[in-house]
Symmetry: C2
Subunit: 358 residues, 2 copies
């Protein structure tokens, strides 16, 4: 077995799993934004036909998962594992929304970095030979997140400039075992090799990951999560360069999850202080997802934000050949209403995923 470990925190997959299908389901506001045309489904009903915000968010996950599996030309039965999470206490959206999937579940929580974490675990499962197909799913919902973390919607609190707007949406990505040429050649499976190679052509693969640590710079402002998360993103990006021996130019894009306008400046400065200039490659899903006129202050956030931008836009840019190599870095603020009320800081975490076209 080849050594897959790179440097301190990274993995280079031996047989990089292929993204065989992806889907994005978003709310109306996200549909009205500049990326509206890229999303698969725009839900007009904020409750998605459910009775509560939490159930509504669960329905977004279920819809995204089913659609991603269909896009991969598979059925539920083909998927061996779900790796799923959301922002709610006890992962309410995943715990209830995914019951009908009837697939073994690993529930995960990495705040808004969850899509990076789920892709990382799912890719290890597939590359490690534990599954032919696994699905990574995350979601967030503006109303369930405001209820969980901030103020009742009816209270109509005023939002500071540094605040972000939680994205209503769910993204799901199916990872599939890539053709293992050596193994198949030994078995003389020539037809299968050429069939699979044809299917895989043009697909995006997960080439590697850089898994983040908890980073705490002592920021206590839950309305400025960009500042809490930016150092975690910076550390993971720099570690990715060190572990793989890359320069920023290796990537066409380096895309964080939801740092917003405040976090963007901090992460670029942080990485510059370590000797790397990512100004040209840098992009943030949170800044992109809403238009200036949509009045969302610092941008979008939530673990649905990077997930729908990945499934809806980023993967398509890679498939089209507009980009060849992307470092995708969902970013999370490890905040809870209890820890906030107890006066704790908001530590950050970020997980890097290297995406490349085959």
């Amino acid at each position: 077995m080849a050594n897959r470990q790179m440097g301190k925190q990274s993995i280079r997959f031996e047989n990089p799993p292929i993204i065989s299908g992806a889907a994005s389901v978003v709310g109306e506001k996200e549909g009205q934004g500049p990326y509206g045309e890229y999303f698969d489904v725009i839900e007009k009903d904020p409750k998605v036909g459910a009775d509560s915000w939490e159930e509504a968010e669960g329905k977004l996950q279920e819809k995204a998962a089913m659609l991603a599996i269909r896009h991969a030309k598979l059925t539920k039965k083909d998927i061996r594992y779900m790796v799923a999470g959301d922002l709610l206490g006890q992962l309410m959206a995943s715990s209830f929304g995914l019951i009908s999937m009837d697939i073994p579940l690993f529930g995960i929580y990495g705040a808004c970095s969850t899509m990076g974490e789920s892709l990382g675990i799912a890719a290890m499962i597939v590359d490690g030979g534990f599954a032919e197909h696994a699905i990574a799913i995350t979601s967030s919902h503006f109303a369930s997140a405001e209820k969980q973390f901030r103020f009742p919607l009816g209270y109509g609190n005023q939002r500071p400039k540094a605040a972000t707007w939680t994205v209503t949406g769910s993204g799901a990505v199916v990872l599939t075992k890539s053709v293992r040429k050596e193994e198949m050649q030994q078995k003389g499976e020539w037809e299968e090799i050429s069939k699979r190679a044809k299917e895989e052509k043009g697909k995006v693969k997960v080439k590697g990951i850089t898994t983040g640590k908890i980073v705490d710079y002592g920021v206590k402002d839950s309305m400025n999560m960009g500042a809490c998360m930016a150092p975690a993103a910076g550390e993971v990006i720099v570690q990715n360069f060190i572990d793989f021996g890359y320069q920023p130019e290796h990537y066409d894009k380096i895309i964080t999850g939801d740092l917003g306008k405040v976090g963007k400046d901090i992460v670029i400065d942080y990485v510059k202080a370590k000797g790397y200039d990512i100004t040209k490659q840098y992009m943030d899903c949170g800044i992109e997802i809403y238009g200036e006129e949509q009045n969302t202050q610092a941008g979008g956030s939530g673990c649905g934000c990077s997930a729908v931008m990945l499934a809806g836009y980023i993967l398509k840019q890679l498939e089209n050949g507009d980009w060849k190599r992307v470092l995708f870095v969902p970013t999370g603020a490890l905040l809870s209403q209890v820890s906030f009320n107890e006066g704790n800081s908001v530590p950050g975490i970020a997980h890097g995923v290297i995406l490349e076209k085959m």
Copy 2:
């Protein structure tokens, strides 16, 4: 690469990871129970020197993790990944308690089944060649759980007979790559083989896993979680028998996490209806951990319950040779205070882990 997939939901590891170190840290009540002498540390201070219950629980995790690493004769730097979780919203105990570990983190949530989930993911990471060492950690705390899920402690509500008592404690287990004879023989590393073989002798390994699905039988009573979780445990146990072709007699013990006295009867009946009698092998950590006189109604619960019983007692029974093969099945009730208040049912999930002495 050998096919590690067994049946529908199980994995048989190619090179079963070794449990190189484990540790259990519990509260005073658990220390006074029948297994008190087995736990590594009994904390007299329920706040563990912290200012809040959540921080206290985080400190339990930190202590258990550090001690398990020391027992494995390793240092923090040797551990490539932490796979950790707890019951609190946004995994407060792990998110804050593990900052000082400075190790890449996968945060996970499977309610009280979390120790089974973390062992499963950590074992795949190690067997897949992604790490030499990974640590699985979970915790619960009576006071933080009551605050999160039920009533303020000062309210002094009366507990029904079916209620369980959340265990204050954290268990941590270090998984280490086993000697890969074939690979090492090819490289001619004869000395290393004999050195490692000696170190591994008498250690317990993770032979396989059976990963659970969400199971919802519509039970809505948050004071009777045994009934919510028992069908999930039953499904995983039966699936383990089917996937591996085992009969109950294959195991010396089949140990669920925290079904308590009510759940015990249900799971035995459930499995019997599928054609297997596990009466002789069956044991439940929740029933065991407290004595009758400790007045804990149906028994202990929480994701610390199965974790401290594993690290404190079960692994020692295996190392001593009293038991040879154990199916360890932590059980979780997917409940949140919000979902409960919204009138939802309490779905269950359970994850099976096969433990054997080398």
